[in-house]
Amino acid sequence: MASTYVKSITGLLAAGALLMGATGATAADRVKIEWWYAISGKLGDTVQKLISDFNKSQDKYEVVGTFKGNYEETMAAMVAAYRVNQQPAILQSAERGFMTMLNSGAVIPVDQLMAKQGYKIDWSDFVKPVAGFYIVNGKPAALPFNSSTPILWYNADAFNAAGFDAPSDTWQGLEKQLYALKEKKVTDCPMALPGDFQWSLIENYSAINNYPFATKANGYGGLDTEFVYNKTGVVGQVARLKKWVDDGVLKIAGQGVAPISLFTSGTCATIINSTASHSGVEADAKFKWSAAVMPHEEGVDVKNGTIGGASLWAVKGKSEEVQAGVAAFFNFVAQPATQEWWSKATGYVPVTNAAYQKMKTDGYFKDHPTREIAIEQLSRGEPTDNSRGFRFGNHNQSTAILIEEIQAVWTGKKTPQEALDSSVKRGNEILRQYEKLHAGK
């Protein structure tokens, strides 16, 4: 009995070894570069196309891309893998995880990597709001990859039916329009609440209206930054959103349905969502749709919005030839031609001026005017400490707290002021914890 087991087990092992040997042999001529990414759906298909284009463009390296779940899940997978030395060579990480990656000690600064491998990348060519975020002390920490910003998507048919040409550029004006859409029974859902509303309706709102979100230039000035958004116009914004939710003007999609699909299906007339929704909206929306810049408060000096999306990090602990492959891939991604193709295919903003200018001179934005809105919104006004961006340690944690507290406003458990006070207090504890752990970095 036992011996047959032993036999079958050794048989299995031998078969496994054969299989591994076989795959090892075919891959031997190319160096494998593992890349973990976090975007799915149509965007994920485009990532796979990018990878296969790179693999076809040369014969030394083979990039293997694996979807590891959303940004948080991908980061968690990375952390777990890094601790047992099974990390990928490239990681796509969201802007919210920037500080975590920067201070992780697990990454190679991208300019070092490129210089060492003999590639020249013109870092000054990256568009300002993108460069402003990823460049630390004059040096880029990661390669900007998919950069986006939230824009206001609207159903033009619905707006016309209610007698409007386009959405107002102020929140006050937009409010009247949304209520009119409901009162005139054009739609039962004038606006859908995006899943990442804290990014668009709170953080970007704060930047565009030039309110301070935290001290020390929103964290750019040091780890001893403190949240202050409970003392700014953000309180009024949350109160406005609460009123809209109560009046049925703003609908929360909830679990089981993606907020953007409420817009593309025609259920809701507007949504403030990432410009990267372009590929999805273009494919799915069966009505006349358009987009506009995010509204601002009446009478403020309007500033630029902030970027979202992610960048590519070169991860430590890989052999020299793998690093050379990572650099080759980064160089491929940073080419104006790749940038242009990527931006057109996805809706993300072109991250280099070269790519942007080329798209402009080719007349691409004349045919696709909504594709330029994000860039326009990112470059409104002269950036201030309030609008440059956000650099907070453990930003995921303070974001989760902010969302939880604002949900307490939806449920009526807290007033906007109470919720934001509590959110700031809890968020500051997170910042102090991070400061303590990373003192001197």
Partner: protein, 330 residues
């Protein structure tokens, strides 16, 4: 307990041949090969060790090593990548105990676990009682009840979330039409109700299988005697079947607690994400959120240590308080 129990049954078993519950018939099977010896006796110790090894290895890798990891992380604050680590003593614990969110989560978990446990048992009990009395199509009836158990928690969670989604869900629309302001995104009670129903729905089948077996194991002679004495089915159920099924019910109470405390994670993740405003954020879901989403490994480890202590305490209390009242003898 099982060994002496088995022997006792063997002694009297041959004459009356009662239909035995699964566990007991198993232990009696093991016992028959070596008459007169303890059921757990093996002549060759290596065989015993070999048979034990898989279970011990599973315990080692899925219990002892994780427990050690949790304990070692619970007293530190650490960078997710392990670069920096500061020993903070009991700070992770004191922060938790002074946090109103953590207290809310603990109260919620208790409520959820108790309600889920009772509701699951009662519904499964009713269905199992009915099974005894269903004559036609019994197989179909059983099959339909057992179906939910075959569906992965994440998939059933997505289905529940979609069906009761206030904007697009068909069942939510029906609730709206009959006048309920159903909205689990904004009404914490609705959200809690939804995850409770989803959790119960998923677990009823488990309790049902055990209860059907336990009810079938009640000796026909006892039931017939009760019938001759004039007890109707409902009365027979409460005075004969239930007391005789007490060991199974006790076992199910423990299992339901474990399920409610630890295994409803997938359902909560898909149905509510712990929201709105943490109103369905149970302790185990919070461990996941804080540890794997927020990468606050120190706090997450401290929470799992607390959770482990709670689980041990509950099981101990249940064995002390409830098991004494359970009579294992037929």
């Amino acid at each position: 307990m099982p060994a002496s129990d088995a022997i006792m049954i063997r002694n009297e078993g041959a004459a009356t041949r009662p239909r035995l519950p699964l566990r007991r018939s198993l232990s009696s099977l093991v016992g028959t090969s070596e008459a007169g010896l303890k059921a757990s006796h093996f002549r060759r110790p290596w065989l015993a060790a070999g048979l034990l090894a898989p279970q011990l290895l599973i315990l080692l890798f899925f219990f002892f090593i994780p427990t050690w990891k949790a304990l070692s992380l619970a007293f530190v604050q650490v960078d997710p990548f392990g670069g920096t680590m500061i020993f903070v003593g009991l700070e992770n614990f004191t922060t938790l105990f002074s946090s109103p969110e953590y207290r809310d989560s603990a109260i919620l978990t208790l409520w959820f676990t108790v309600v889920q446990c009772i509701a699951t048992l009662v519904i499964a009990g009713l269905l199992a009682f009915a099974t005894d009395n269903v004559m036609r199509g019994r197989a179909i009836y059983k099959g339909v009840i057992l179906l939910p158990y075959a569906i992965a928690p994440a998939i059933s969670g997505v289905l529940w979330a979609f069906l009761f989604n206030p904007t697009v869900g068909p069942l939510a629309q029906m609730l709206h039409e009959i006048g309920f302001a159903w909205d689990p995104n904004r009404r914490p009670f609705d959200a809690l109700l939804l995850v409770s129903v989803a959790a119960v729905w998923k677990h009823v089948c488990y309790d049902y299988i055990f209860l059907v077996a336990a009810f079938l194991a009640v000796p026909a002679s006892v039931m017939e005697a009760a019938a001759i004495d004039g007890a109707r089915p409902v009365r027979r159920f409460f005075t004969v079947t239930l007391p005789m099924a007490a060991p199974t019910i006790f076992f199910l109470i423990v299992m339901n607690f474990v399920y409610g405390l630890f295994e409803t994670f997938g359902i909560i993740d898909t149905v509510t994400h712990g929201g709105p405003a943490g109103s369905t954020n149970t302790l185990v879901y919070k461990v996941y959120q804080d540890g794997f989403r927020q990468l606050d490994l120190g706090s997450s480890a401290a929470q799992s240590v607390i959770l482990m202590a709670i689980a041990v305490l509950f099981t101990f209390l249940q064995f002390r308080a409830v098991e004494r009242k359970v009579n294992y003898q037929v």
